[in-house]
């Protein structure tokens, strides 16, 4: 029997980027907000300080900041005719845990999606005709113009370092000429570039492209955000993505929001509170709160007027499934929406090797330090006759020189032994990697549901992921890789290796922590779980933030859009929902 606590106005499940954004916005409105986090509190100076944050074994390979699969994981298979098996170790993607969530160990690349990304189906159909039958992409129900002010809010919160390419419709030198019009320049100038991105940019310019600096949440100078919270300049320590920042120079919920949020008396954070399910009203027309378990195993019922699910996408989807909220998607019948349109991203790389006189010094790095071109993203180029839609960026980021993670040896090097050791010694510090980072569309056969066999530590069925790369994505990735090879050839190295992404999708090698879909947003309850304000169509006092809302996955890092959607939702809650609580903000 659960112990029932007094009702709260707002309960937020999961305290990462969007949990903190929603809490900040709603406490500013005067609401009483309780956030529940399964992990523990973490402080920069005591938990991942400059004294101990630089440890490749501990953080990258022993997953100190990542979620523990012994508590909950998922099963995985490439297609529905296979038996899904549990993801026993993290690999392909690395969600976080503890206060700040995955946003503590992100790299800080902070994009806006293209205006056409939000109307992917109508835009592509209009330009290229009917799409493949099993491609289930759809329009988002929200436009770039609606999100623009919220992108700006997030960029100012974080102090993004970058260069605008389109200010109010006027193109700007040195920025991304393809981006949607932005109302403001980035709050901080771009980071200073090291040699590798300069080599990339020079080669790309020579081929007629317009390289620009990655929009970066690593500070290019000291910054104080509109909440009054201060960030320090990035020191290029080379332990950024997959690591936490030890000197307050990477934007995250703890470094941009929490110093102010935690001081508000109408906010409370409860840690080590593992939410097991969302509680529904008897009539199924609203939620009444959540149920969580303490480390001692006590079950607590926490009633709430409003519940916001802000966990990583698979957990948001899983919570809906185990709580019986909405119908789980079935690929055969095409019925059900929960778990539908799971998508990912597709990456590939080219490594250019230089002679021993050229020292790249790869350890001088930051998560979002680099140069990039956007000519082949989204619909920035004509796809006629190419046999695919979508695209991605091609860029050079110098993130780190961590020996095990970033080792690169030329083709033909023995897998181990004396030859490998020699090649490692000769090539470390003399290579530059170019990456491509591409969109993945949604498909009938890529989805999430519940596993029939495996259970988590709390006895709940694991979520089951069925996913593979499809022809559209593999063709697109090959096309991007070919363009990357052309740039690599112009970079003047000694030789290069090309790592194309081939099917089947594997959960073993790290690719990106950019999983999307499963509780997608849209214009109609017939084809989406939430409306454009991330409000559940059938249970209007339930909101779901995060990339689970993406109907398909564009070719950019998602955090900027994840945050903009949260601010968009919070603004609507403040503006209209609170006037008529429990009512849908969009009529079905």
């Amino acid at each position: 029997m659960a112990r029932k606590l007094p009702k709260r106005e707002v309960v937020i499940v999961g305290f990462g980027w969007t949990g903190a954004i929603m809490a900040e916005q709603l406490t500013a409105e005067g609401l009483d907000v309780l956030a529940l986090e399964r992990g523990v509190w973490r402080n920069t100076s005591t938990d991942y300080a400059v004294t101990n944050a630089q440890d490749e074994v501990r953080y990258r390979f022993r997953h100190d900041l990542f979620e523990q699969l012994s508590r909950e994981t998922m099963t995985f298979r490439n297609s529905s005719d296979q038996t899904a098996l549990p993801m026993r170790m993290l690999g392909s993607f690395l969600p976080g845990t503890n206060v700040g969530g995955s946003g503590v160990h992100w790299n800080g690349i902070t994009w806006r999606f293209l205006p056409s990304d939000f109307v992917a189906r109508s835009h592509n159909e209009e330009r290229y005709g009917p799409l493949p039958e099993d491609m289930t992409i759809q329009d988002w129900g929200v436009s770039y113009e609606e999100l623009e002010p919220h992108y700006t809010t997030f960029e100012e919160l974080c102090g993004i370092s970058g260069k605008a390419g389109n200010l109010n419709g006027r193109l700007q030198q040195g920025g991304n000429p393809f981006e949607g019009p932005r109302s403001k320049e980035y709050p901080n100038p771009p980071m200073d570039m090291v040699l590798a991105p300069k080599l990339f940019a020079e080669a790309a310019s020579g081929l007629g492209y317009k390289p620009f600096p990655f929009p970066s949440a690593n500070m290019s100078r000291a910054y104080t955000n509109p909440l009054g919270v201060s960030l320090a300049p990035c020191t290029y320590c080379g332990f950024c993505e997959k690591f936490a920042c030890g000197n307050y120079s990477k934007a995250s919920a703890p470094t941009t929001i929490l110093p102010v949020l935690m001081r508000r008396q109408n906010f409370e954070l409860q840690t080590q509170a593992m939410v097991l399910r969302v509680l529904k009203a008897a009539d199924g027309k609203s939620v009444t709160g959540v149920e969580y378990i303490t480390p001692e195993g006590e079950i607590i019922e926490q009633p709430a007027d409003m519940v916001i699910l802000s966990t990583y996408i698979n957990h948001n989807v899983h919570l809906l499934m185990v709580s019986g909220i909405g119908q789980i998607y079935d690929p055969r019948s095409q019925q059900g929406l929960v778990g539908k349109n799971y998508a990912y991203q597709i990456t590939s790389g080219v490594t250019v090797f230089y002679d021993e006189e050229t020292h790249i010094n790869p350890f001088i790095g930051a998560g979002a330090l680099g140069m990039v071109i956007d000519e082949f993203n989204g619909d920035n180029f004509d796809h006629s006759g190419l046999g695919f839609i979508g695209g991605g960026f091609i860029g050079q980021t110098q993130t780190n020189g961590r020996p095990v993670e970033s080792l690169a040896v030329p083709d033909g090097t023995p897998k181990f032994g004396a030859g490998w050791k020699k090649a490692m010694r000769e090539n470390y510090g003399h290579s530059v990697g170019i990456g491509t980072h591409g969109a993945v569309m949604s498909y009938r056969g890529n989805y999430l549901d519940l596993d029939p066999t495996y259970k988590d530590a709390y006895g709940r069925p694991l979520m089951r992921m069925t996913f593979d790369f499809t022809e559209n994505e593999l063709r697109m990735s090959d096309y991007l890789t070919d363009r990357a090879v052309e740039i690599a050839e112009a970079m003047g190295g000694r030789e290069m290796t090309v790592s194309r992404r081939k099917g089947p999708y594997s959960i073993v090698p790290y690719q990106t922590t950019h999983n999307t879909g499963g509780h997608i947003m849209g214009a109609s309850p017939a084809d989406s779980v939430t409306n454009k304000y991330l409000q559940h169509w059938q249970m209007p006092n339930l909101f779901l933030t995060g990339a689970g809302a993406f109907p398909q996955n564009p070719g950019y890092n998602p955090t900027g859009t994840v945050a903009a959607l949260a601010y968009h939702s919070a603004a609507a809650i403040r503006r209209s929902y609170l006037r008529a609580p429990g009512q849908p903000m969009v009529q079905a």
Binding site: S45, T46, A49, P259
Partner: protein, 427 residues
Amino acid sequence: MRYLSLAQSLTRSSRRIRIAGLVALSACLFAAATHPALAQGTNDWSELQRGLYLSRVGDCAACHTADPEKPMAGKYALDTPFGTIWTANLTPDEETGLGEWSADDFWRAMNEGIRRDGAHLYPAFPYTHFTLISRADSDAIYAYLQSLEPISQDVMEPDFPFPLNIRFVLNGWNLINFEDRSFTPDPERSAAWNRGYYIAEGLGHCSMCHSPKNFTGAVKDGDAAYSGGMAEGWLAPALRPGSGGPGLSDWSKDDLMAFLRHGRNSRTAAFGPMAEVIDKSTRHLTDSDLDALATYILDLPESGEAPADSEAIDTDDPAMQTGALVYATQCSACHGPDGEGIPGQFARLKGSSLTQSSDPTTVVRLVLEGVRSVPTEKYPTPHAMPAFDWKLNDAEVAAVATYVRNAFGNSAPAVTADAVAEIREAQ
């Protein structure tokens, strides 16, 4: 209502005010600061507000609020060189607090350091400073304390060794160290200076930390005053130039006011006991009181001879070499490759008097324990320095301390590994 009886006692006690003129003066000074109608007893609410404000000026909560859930209920363990004292319960609890105390009793405690039962209070309670304050201010604080929720608290006797455990002995202490004083404004000085004197020397009891102590633990005055002291094992830096180093000689009034208001300024950030003082006390000061305090502090005359300039240690010195490597790999990410810091975030070491202070205890403790700058309204970010005690051995801490004291144009005596070991053991 408790306050009714309180008002009666205030009326009774007013007859005993010795220096009537002082009331008028202090009311006058307050007029600029807070509220025009401050005559005691005329307005319950404003009297309580004034008492609350004065209790903040005096930083009462620092010692008397051990548990935030039990404001002013005392039982805070004060470590003194002679043993531990547990602070008194200031809430109006009849058994364990000030419930039975009259305003006269309270005034006697403030003014003379004598308890309601006639016993002497230990001078960890700064009656040596509070003796300066006006009866009206004492009464306002009393009124405020009496308005608090009564909280029952265990009364703990200090664990002093004989003969210090006999309070009678304090007669002797007082004979040497205590003078019952009152405040007389200096007509030659500005109103701000006079007000600043009243705050700093009276309720603010700044010199309790910022002055050296004599063998009985009493604050030294005269030339030694404000030449730096120790507080809870931290160096409270000199506030006046002279024997304790440059003090605040290159601080502007804006620097000092920003520091006291926001915990940070363009050169440094408050930490340790001063961070608590700012959080609980100085950030609440009115603009004019803050200005007055800064005016007085920055006007302190030079004290004694400045210590001879220490010659910067050569960069070839082995400790400097190790220190440079430790600094480059551990410290420069925040304090900057050239010790320049980040205004409002990380302290500047270049030219910092604290870094170069003759007593390196604070520098060494900062490295060993880590420290947090106080979060305030203007600077909510609680930037903190991590603890290096697990990572750097005594020689390495000594080397990096020596380095920061002698790099960037700084110069101060080297820190030895033995000194670090001693400080480490004391933790």
